[in-house]
């Protein structure tokens, strides 16, 4: 049993790392491409508008979807690796 807290700490650290990476992507596509970097990306056109416009109105939502399913899949794997699944 002495091992368990250590295992849980490693599990939690791994989880926090996955969350951090996911949130960087989350912020990059919405606040980054969609708002702050939009002027810099003006040159890239997507169907009558620019890349920033597309990310703000469609792209970010699609990336959010991928992110949540990636997280659910990755965490299920992590749960099993650390033997903490339900």
């Amino acid at each position: 049993m002495a091992e368990e807290p250590q295992n849980n700490n490693a599990y939690w650290a791994a989880n926090v790392r996955i969350i951090q990476i996911s949130l960087v992507v989350w912020a990059l596509v919405s606040f980054g491409f969609g708002i702050i970097l939009r002027p810099a990306l003006k040159g890239i056109s997507v169907g009558g508008a620019d890349l920033g416009f597309w990310f703000a109105q469609q792209g970010s939502i699609l990336v959010f979807l991928v992110l949540i399913f990636f997280y659910a899949w990755r965490m299920n794997k992590l749960d099993a690796e650390h033997g903490v699944e339900e």
Partner: protein, 605 residues
């Protein structure tokens, strides 16, 4: 069959369905009443969450808010990113851990994690203020939709809506609400996408509205991009370019962030994740919820922009293939005689669309009268002002089927869809309020020894009271519904989200920190909003005029939730640092909610 009878039939059938489901899914225990007995599969819970989340505002107003924004459609992208990005935060930061904790309400988590009845009480107050302000808008939405499609007064519509919610929410509890919401989601998404597909085919030749938005403009052969055409048409008439940049990047960032963390902090959304069987299901369920939400949210900007172009070319027929001002504006005679344009008069009767031949030339000129260049053209051509005087945001969705000349049953379906969106959100909010009252106030503080049966009865009675209160507020709304919703999101962002996140991700934040943090978030955000929008929304009591020049660092009242959240985090950490760390058993509680293993059924004890 006339349109009125058809509307009545379709709406009546949808209501019969909701009531039928409620009878089938009656709640027999508090676990069923508060959390549907934790037996809802993730996909179904995702669908119910989507219906719970997408309110009258999402269904009826959002496309129009984007399409008709004076500063251009791009500037309102915050709604699209904010109201979906919040689900990433829910899935990663809150839902799985709160499900593992395994209790019924948000204040219960706050009370246990911060070992304090005081903290629980502050959370209850925040929850009730958020949910009550939010429910007002839903009740108004029900009344307005009834009034438009079923020719009753807004007040009568509100009473009918309240009676329907009462019937299925009070008896069914979370179980009844969940399965009703699944049906409501199906109704609303079908109602939203059918007209969207037709309008997309018409304007871009593309079946999928999401691709149509990026496609070519069909009436001129598809060589010109649709968005380029829209930009050209609106700028020719003196309006701001549709894809124009925002003038205040900082405010847009803060507003988007407020909507994101506000979404993640809305109690009626959070409690949906208590209904799934396992922690891993809570993660999947957030993903499914966003799938079902994205179906509407990726269509909305397409519907809005296409409806805007459609409307403009209707009033300037030459704009369809050439330049608007090379031809004449639409004539009154055409409006009154062409059966394809009958919707213009129909919607004028509702007050959502208004036109007036100011210069008496028999034509209706639609342009931006505050643009100096247009004023010069107007003077030259003898126009005396913009003659399309009113275009309500709600028009863009509600009138779409008629503009696209779709059959009557589609129009009836849109009516049922609008009602489904408003009713499903209202029911979710009422459940959040009643569980906070019966579980957190009555069982948690006033009478901890209450029996299971007694608590269930208390839950039903408080739900009944909540419906009466919501109906009364819907009849006598304080200020404008839109401002009230800004308060709900601001407070959810500034109070509930930070306290939950710190409760999970920090073992050091203690009860003093949590209470101070919530109060700081609550008061700073509420005061900032009241300063500009009127104290307690009483018209005429605003201390400062609500214009960008008066805002602190250019941050609008609706964007202040982000600042409130930052102040909440900062004060909670600061106070915790100088007071005693939480006791050992609380630190162990935090350890245990961080791992999925051992999540059983939720208990109320």
């Amino acid at each position: 069959m006339d349109q009125y009878t058809l509307n009545l039939l379709v709406v009546g059938a949808s209501f019969a369905l909701y009531i039928g489901i409620a009878i089938w899914a009656r709640a027999g225990t508090t676990a069923e009443f508060y959390a549907a007995g934790q037996g809802v599969p993730p996909v179904m819970n995702g669908m119910a969450t989507a219906a719970d989340w997408m309110s009258a505002a999402s269904f009826i107003s959002m496309a129009g808010i984007i399409a008709l924004a004076p500063a251009g459609g791009y500037t309102q992208s915050s709604f699209l990113m904010g109201w979906t990005g919040g689900y990433v935060l829910l899935a990663l930061l809150l839902a799985p851990y709160l499900r593992k904790f395994g209790k019924f309400t948000v204040p219960e988590f706050v009370g246990d994690r911060f070992y304090s009845k005081g903290a629980r009480l502050v959370a209850v107050i925040c929850l009730i203020v958020i949910s009550v302000t939010y429910v007002i808008g839903q009740m108004r939405g029900v009344g307005v939709t009834f009034a438009r499609f079923l020719e009753v007064s807004t007040d009568t519509g509100l009473y009918i809506g309240a009676a329907i919610v009462f019937a299925y929410a009070v008896f069914g509890g979370m179980k009844g609400i969940t399965y009703t919401q699944v049906a409501q989601y199906c109704v609303l998404i079908v109602a939203y996408t059918i007209p969207a597909i037709f309008i997309s085919l018409q304007i871009t030749g593309n079946f999928l509205p999401q691709l149509g938005l990026l496609g070519g403009y069909a009436p001129t052969g598809g060589d010109v991009a649709f968005l380029a055409k829209l930009d050209a048409v609106v700028t020719e008439l003196g309006f701001t370019q549709y894809t124009a940049d925002t003038t205040s990047m900082l405010n847009m960032v803060f507003f988007t962030m407020s909507l994101m963390i506000g979404t993640a902090g809305l109690p009626h959304v959070i409690i949906r994740f208590f209904t799934v069987p396992k922690v891993s299901d809570a993660r999947w369920s957030a993903g499914w919820a966003l799938v079902f939400i994205a179906l509407l949210y990726t269509v909305a900007p397409a519907v809005g922009s296409m409806a805007r172009l459609n409307l403009t070319t209707t009033f300037w027929p030459n704009a369809e293939t050439g330049l608007a001002l090379d031809g004449d504006a639409i004539s009154l005679e055409e409006i009154n005689t062409n059966p394809d344009l009958a919707w213009i008069n129909t919607w004028q009767n509702t007050g959502l669309l208004g036109f007036e031949d100011k210069n008496g030339d028999g034509l209706i000129q639609y342009y931006n009268e505050s643009n100096p260049e247009m004023q010069a053209i107007a003077a030259e051509r003898g126009w005396t002002g913009n003659e399309l005087t009113t275009v309500d945001n709600d028009m863009m969705v509600l009138a779409n089927p008629e503009i696209a000349a779709l059959p009557g049953w589609v129009i009836a379906l849109v009516a049922a869809g609008g009602l489904a969106a408003a009713l499903s959100t209202a029911a979710g909010l009422l459940l959040a309020i009643s569980s906070a009252v019966s579980h957190d106030l009555i069982k948690g503080s006033i009478n901890p020894n209450i029996s299971e049966k007694g608590e269930l009865l208390a839950a039903r009675i408080s739900m009944g009271f909540a419906i009466v209160l919501a109906t009364w507020l819907g009849l006598n709304p304080p200020g404008f519904a839109a401002q009230v919703v800004a308060l709900a999101f601001g407070l959810a962002a500034a109070t509930i989200f930070p306290v939950l996140m710190m409760g999970i991700f920090s073992k050091r934040v203690n009860k003093e920190g949590a209470i101070v943090g919530m109060l700081v978030g609550l008061f700073t955000t509420a005061i900032y909003i009241f300063l500009y929008l009127g104290w307690f929304f009483i018209p005429g009591t605003a201390t400062l005029e609500n214009i960008p020049a008066n805002w602190l660092f250019g941050i609008a009242p609706a964007s202040f939730g982000t600042v409130g959240a930052i102040l909440n985090f900062a004060s909670a950490y600061a106070v915790s640092a100088v007071t005693k760390a939480p006791p050992r058993e609380i630190q162990e509680l935090v350890e245990s909610i961080r791992v999925p293993k051992g999540a059983g059924a939720a208990t109320g004890h």
